[in-house]
Symmetry: C2
Subunit: 329 residues, 2 copies
């Protein structure tokens, strides 16, 4: 009996491994890419040569990221809408900013985690780097409402910051708006969350459960990877609801950039970043999957398939960087 069990187990292992290899091949063919599991490969991707990173800059960037004094009111920090405790987002439909103003286009805050892997930033994809992105919300009236000429003098007036900028950039540093936002971007570039999905793509076949593998398979087969691909599982711009119309398209006036392109959100940590879609109108992940199928793939995704995909999405919840809450200068 024991021998039969052993043979069976070897046989099963072979079968599973074989299908694992098939899924892996399929995933690579669909342009699904893991977060690299070697530091050097990772750094090649997350580092911006025009804005190179150091430990001192990362630490300073973290402080600025968490500092509500970067806003006009002294009450809103980057972390308010992109809360690292809440999947890198805020968990509300509409981003809420200075003086409690909701985003006038009814736009939802996207997660900052893994944003570094996206080719485009903002829902209309108007920035291609985090360095560019950071400049936006700080100045926007209904977000942080800070004037770009006032921020540097405000920061310079906080003695501790002056010292930290010197430590990060040398004694002759000139604290400019660009340097402040670049430093925040350097911190944001570290906010990546490798997951079991990456472990699988990197060759650890046991990292996903059979059901998650099945879900990944379905995800690819249905064509979700046409947009949700690359390391970010998104981050490109695509035409949106050009076939069937998005159920909540009239909530808010956002319909993409001038070419009607919309940034595809990352699916990483998707279980932690409800509500979904650019206007944050769908709270249930299965509903979001089915709506996407309908409007982007012109497909009626069955409950069963939506469940499979949702199960796969569970594997995208990544390991978050450990962050020591800063003491601000």
């Amino acid at each position: 009996m024991k021998i039969i069990a052993l043979i069976l187990s070897i046989f099963t292992t072979f079968i599973v491994a074989n299908s694992d290899i098939e899924i892996l091949k399929k995933a690579k063919k669909a342009n699904l890419l893991p977060i690299p599991n070697t530091k050097i490969e990772l750094l090649k991707i997350i580092n911006n040569q025009k804005n190179p990173s150091t430990d001192a800059k990362i630490e300073l960037g973290k402080k600025l990221y968490f500092d509500p004094r970067v806003s006009k009111s002294n009450l809103i920090s980057c972390n308010t809408c992109h809360n690292l405790a809440l999947g890198g987002a805020d968990g509300v439909s509409v981003a809420t900013g200075d003086k409690w103003h909701p985003n006038p286009h009814h736009l939802n805050s996207p997660t900052v985690y893994n944003a570094v892997f996206a080719n485009y930033q903002f829902w209309d994809g108007r920035s291609t780097t985090l360095e560019e992105q950071v400049k936006g919300p700080i100045q926007t009236q209904f977000e942080m409402a800070m004037h770009k000429d006032i921020l540097p003098s405000k920061i310079k007036n906080i003695i501790g910051y002056k010292e930290e900028f010197k430590r990060a950039y040398g004694p002759n540093v000139k604290i400019t708006f660009k340097l402040i936002t670049d430093t925040i971007a350097i911190f944001e570039r570290t906010l990546i969350t490798p997951s079991r999905y990456d472990d699988f793509l990197n060759g650890d076949f046991k990292a996903l459960t059979p059901k998650e593998k099945d879900g990944l398979n379905t995800f690819i087969d249905l064509g979700c990877t046409r947009c949700h691909k690359g390391i970010a599982l998104g981050g490109f711009t695509q035409p949106f609801d050009t076939g069937k119309r998005y159920k909540y398209r009239n909530i808010g006036d956002f319909h993409g950039n001038k070419n009607h392109l919309v940034k595809t959100p990352t699916l990483r940590n998707i279980k932690e970043t409800a509500p979904y879609f650019h206007n944050g109108m769908i709270w249930n992940l299965k509903d979001a999957i089915k709506e996407m199928g309908k409007i982007q793939l012109l497909l009626g995704i069955s409950d069963k398939d939506a469940q499979k995909i949702e199960t796969f999405f569970g594997s995208l919840s990544g390991r978050k960087p450990k962050i020591k809450y800063p003491i601000l200068p």
Copy 2:
């Protein structure tokens, strides 16, 4: 020459040590008490026997403290107004809450650090424990605006929290409003910041600079310790501006409790918690010291003495607890 230098040095050491002992005696006589430097003595003070602490409860309390979902809007956490990165306060004159409502009495957020050592909580001293205090802001319309009957069901609906409450309180735990607020209080009881001042009071005479010792001396001599005493250097209730009137007494309508008593704020970390006074109208620490002298001690404190006291206050900036920013369930 060397021998003379040596004798002089011994002599100086003796003199200094002698005056150190004098200051220490004087401080003790003025009821200035250090944060105990042994864990057992400290725990005796910060532990509430009716709400005993465990590591699991502290960790859960930390999560609730940082969780904006504890508020009605999902946008305001305890940490918004009592920001552990900003001296445990918010650095603005008037506390700003739900829908951007300023505190209608123009009240300033006091620091949460070392609040456990205060005999009274709130500016009018209406609570005597942190457990009681926590219940206030969560429910207040212009703060977190959360209904006490809704919060428990909201928390129960977050699966991860259910698990964490079980871990902290056992499998049959009933998540009530009181249990949630008690758990937050347990975390707050850990927010203490021992400083060089404590080291000095605990016998390390080198912990303070000569100028800081001189400032401490002045602080006691002028009578500041009539109200700023005990471990908290405050936290009692006192009549306020009964002699001369506080310069900004008409900003806001707060004039103490029904007996016109006002809670004396702690002086710990005072250099990090501007603006000062209950209505947050004074930004400069020396101005605050002089105003206090005028209205509470009926004394004109000279610039020189105010400077000395401010220098002493520098030693009250404490060592903050290291806090890992939580990943919320």
